[in-house]
Symmetry: C2
């Protein structure tokens, strides 16, 4: 993706404002069938702007718009689209239009789009492409999703180690098919093994006769083609890279990953963590009702299980509840405070694990700290709630019991809030996706058990 | 920050593994006072690696390490450090060492570090800097935090519109103080107003006599110096930029924002949203116990308020609870399922709002869809829970009542889960920070009220 793909006149205006006003205009044009006006507007939009527009309108208008625009749609628009919307747009396009778009895109982006197509249509599109492009896309598709092999583009500048700066510059001036978004050149040996890289800025500042090996940086990071995209993001983040070469196990240069693709990865990973913590598997704003309901069902079913478990605990104290109805009124407070305090701990732990901040070196310190934090807030809320309860039910004993239960539950919440995500991570399970359900199971069970149990022992 | 700042030999190895083994070695060296070995290790580390190491060790070891390394510490390390840890490290350094570090950094990074210092020490550090650097840093610090003015660096290449490509290349070859991480040159008029940009790759491919204005892109985006960092991230994301010029209101070129600084912003914003949803104000892994406990206290206090409100609702049904103890056993299930379903909706809504995906154009569609999803899952879980309850308490009427309460609460959860974040956003309140607490208030109150209320009407 070229950083020169910019919308004329878009400048720094707020994308949302621009498209909200635009959207009304487009829908009006659509209503009155003013096709040329729509084409003119689409022509002036950046790919991101066009994608945003297509995402905002309803499915019928979307299909109509795609039908009108067809090849006038900038291929980059397909790259920028939300996956659910992209599927719809691709359905509205002919295989030959899709092939045309794939031809103009970098391999990694073309592969991303072809991946979403039904098998038969994908074959048709591939057949319509030149042999070398077809081969490149098929090779990319052979790499597992979410790995460096998928993120990299094959378009790059590699030069032999025997050249001088002048030869490299002449080569760049003559080759017409060079990608626009080059920031580093790569130096390779006769077997295409990566030897080093040269930043363009460095090259520009060097005189022509200097051998390229003299200004190349031999100690550049490279990414194995099998690396997970999360690891790729880590490397870019830690080393402040703009582009990074991808190599096979014998260090041969296969492609290059650009920072804009890494931005997308970082967004995806952040979205993943946020959504999973909230019990949603994926961004489903643009998904149909049935799919969304089905995906969310499973999470709710797991939660129903834990809620039933908590109810079974309460069921053990029917006698106490019947005798002192205040217990039924107060018991949700202890459970709820434990759940909230534990969620705070889990959130910090999940984020720290995702960023690689929690390791065997500082784990003990983290757990101990969280227990102190839980204990401190437990004591304060024990005091507050104890006094409130005493005043409410005119019985200091219930106040004492709820205070004790609060301290117990907040310390347990801290312990569970740290150990659950750490344990899941160690077991190879994503801590973002299931930490909270285990946590609330603990805080509900401990909360009800501590409060009702203490009441059973001391009040009856 | 230069993309050439790389650790020798670090390659693509996993940062965590590298530093876990290293950490043991460093701590051992520290124990036996082997200062030279520690210096040698630090010398070989990348800034991110050194920062990671300092974050992992305990505070005493940290102070010792900083005392040993002092000026051997790469200034970039300070930039990479977590804020809490950075404060400690800066305390262990002399003002003149900090001045030395600030001197080597880009203005934006230097300003970031000086910001954290106590007023008096900041004055000392500034006094130790050359006048032009001091002025640049002070100017940067005058911009509000989290705006483009703070993110930009002043180091850039700006050339007059009258030059040819050859003149620009000669200028670059002669100027020794050019930043390493240049990707675009900027063309300015005689009053330093931004006219366009030239990608380095483009320049390299052009012959010397061509006027620079001929290959410049006049329609580049630029960012107003007052723009919020969130907006900056949006512009980079939408237009796949690597660098972007920053201008004042009369379009004069003030600085340039680099993509690596934007990566940090995106990480920060994602972290913010995740942590706020979990009821934590900021990343507090490295903060002391008392501060962490105090910060989390307020969120728990708000939650106590909502829990008490829910208890007050339950308190209205003391009579019913005393007569049918099964109500006490079952009531948390309805509230909990509502809370979980609502959290799914809130999470999707908060993320969509953060990414600008929800606008007046599609809001109605989103709300209606969520209500259908809530209703569908409500009906399914009503059936499941109704049957379980009937079997458990041998009373079909309790099963019917809990089923009805479940549908009511899941539809209310969908409605509240969409309208609360949208309303908060419209009111100018960050939806990530307070949506869940409002939501659980609604789902608890509606859950208890629907279940106990229906029971009061139909069972007694």
């Amino acid at each position: 993706m070229a950083d020169t793909a910019r919308a004329p006149g878009e400048g720094s205006e707020n994308l949302e404002e621009v498209t909200e006003a635009l959207l009304r205009t487009v829908l009006e044009h659509l209503e009155y069938g003013r096709i040329d006006e729509i084409r003119a507007i689409a022509h002036d939009l950046s790919p991101a702007g066009a994608a945003y527009l297509l995402e905002q309108v309803n499915p019928e208008a979307r299909t109509q718009l795609v039908g009108i625009l067809k090849r006038d749609l900038d291929p980059e628009t397909l790259v920028e689209l939300d996956e659910d919307v992209r599927e719809e747009v691709l359905e509205a396009l002919e295989p030959k239009d899709i092939a045309e778009a794939a031809h103009e895109l970098d391999t990694d982006d073309a592969a991303d789009i072809l991946e979403d197509l039904p098998d038969e249509e994908r074959r048709e599109v591939l057949a319509a492409l030149p042999a070398d492009e077809r081969a490149a896309i098929e090779e990319t598709l052979a790499f597992p999703e979410y790995t460096a092999g998928r993120l990299m583009q094959r378009e790059l500048v590699a030069v032999p180690a025997t050249w001088t700066v002048g030869q490299v510059i002449d080569y760049c001036r003559e080759a017409s098919d060079l990608p626009d978004d080059v920031y580093d050149l790569f130096v390779v040996d006769e077997r295409r093994r990566l030897m080093g890289s040269v930043a363009l800025g460095r090259m520009l500042r060097t005189k022509r006769p200097v051998p390229i090996t003299e200004i190349m940086d031999p100690e550049i990071p490279s990414i194995p083609v099998t690396a997970e995209q999360e690891e790729v993001a880590h490397i870019f983040r830690d080393q402040n890279l703009v582009s990074c070469p991808v190599v096979d196990p014998s260090n041969r240069l296969l492609g290059v990953i650009m920072v804009d693709d890494v931005l997308d990865v970082i967004d995806e990973e952040a979205e993943d963590d946020l959504l999973k913590m909230g019990g949603v598997r994926e961004d489903d704003v643009h998904a149909p009702v049935v799919r969304t309901a089905r995906q969310r069902f499973w999470w709710l079913l797991v939660n129903l299980g834990t809620a039933l478990l908590a109810s079974a605990v309460i069921g053990q104290f029917e006698e106490e509840l019947q005798k002192i109805v205040a217990l039924a009124v107060l018991m949700p407070i202890v459970a709820s405070m434990g759940g909230n305090a534990g969620t705070q701990t889990v959130t910090v732990a999940v984020r720290a694990l995702a960023m690689g901040e929690l390791t065997i070196a500082n784990i003990a310190r983290f757990v101990v700290k969280e227990i102190f934090v839980g204990g401190a807030n437990g004591l304060i809320f024990a005091l507050i709630l104890g006094v409130i309860t005493w005043a409410w039910f005119h019985d200091p004993r219930i106040g004492l019991i709820i205070a004790a239960a609060m301290v117990i539950n907040l310390v347990c919440a801290a312990l569970a809030g740290t150990l659950i995500p750490l344990g899941l991570q160690r077991a190879g399970v994503d801590p973002a996706v299931s930490s909270t359900v285990f946590l609330t199971t603990v805080t509900d069970v401990v909360g009800f058990l501590a409060f009702l149990g203490l009441a059973a022992v001391f009040l009856l």
